[in-house]
Symmetry: C2
Subunit: 173 residues, 2 copies
């Protein structure tokens, strides 16, 4: 059993989702929440809330691997900068714990969860709830974090079957 931490970074709210995956690729929900960063006084304090929050989750749930959405192109420079800062802080927190980090593009996540690279965000969130057998509606950022974790779980299971590492599995697709 491998525990995967999925992160959907954002400067106001960073989604966190944790799942377990077995060798066959079967996924089980463990935990999810949005880390709400808006309470901080200034931007550096917000990054601290993010790093402290993620570090606490890593210590409590002890994930083996981390998955995070890869951003190819953001809408505008201002939102790209804010998103980048949150992403840099989140990645720092987990690499400092020596956790391996895999990055997946939005189209890869949609393909893994819905089966179509062009799926709507709402479809992804709906499918995440179904796949993890959750009864209540997911908060959007937490759902995205679970989605990237599920993507990594599937890629990982495929890689295990093929006897290659996860990155090679994707490049063969």
């Amino acid at each position: 059993m491998t525990r995967i931490l999925g992160i959907d970074p954002g400067s106001q709210r960073t989604g966190v989702g944790i799942i377990d995956v077995d060798a066959a690729g079967k996924v089980v929900h463990v935990h999810h929440l949005p880390l709400v960063l808006l309470g901080a006084d200034d931007f550096p304090q917000r990054m601290k809330l993010l790093v402290v929050g993620l570090t606490a989750l890593v210590e409590e749930y002890r994930p083996d691997e981390v998955a995070i959405e890869k951003v190819f192109m953001a809408r505008n420079p201002d939102s790209a900068l804010k998103l980048g800062q949150a992403r840099g802080a989140a990645i720092s927190a987990v690499v400092m714990r020596d956790l391996p980090v895999s990055e997946y593009a939005a189209t890869e996540i949609k393909l893994a969860v819905v089966g179509r690279g062009g799926a709507e965000k709402q479809q992804v969130q709906h499918m995440v709830g179904l796949m993890l057998n959750l009864k209540t509606k997911l908060q959007a950022d937490a759902a995205d974090a679970l989605a990237v974790a599920i993507t990594h779980a599937h890629v990982r299971a495929t890689a295990l079957r093929l006897g290659v590492n996860a990155r090679q599995a994707w490049s063969r697709k």
Copy 2:
């Protein structure tokens, strides 16, 4: 005497500059270097190099305060994202050590170092060398890091004279 760490974040090279400032605002050069991040295998490893490098410098030189350039608007979404990630990682590294972080806009830095908010980058680098009495030409990222450290030193000295904190000193300008 207060020790200030200035950081000029970048995803390929992050400039670091350390100076001491006395109550009168006199600055003395302590150390500078560009942390070169290009050797890392992938982006998460690059962020790790940045956090590990900054943490080592903080442990060795024990700065009291940190200054970093504030970015209002980057050129394009792609560079904004990369810059943001480096900035988020750098800020994480220092806030986790409970160091106070002050942010200064490029125009504030040019005003503090050259005396004109519209000064050229080369003029800033030249003035940094003169102010710190350095004999050799500075690497560009390290020079920018020293420039933001000098800015904070001056703002801090002004604030001490006025009996206010540094942020208030700037808003009175």
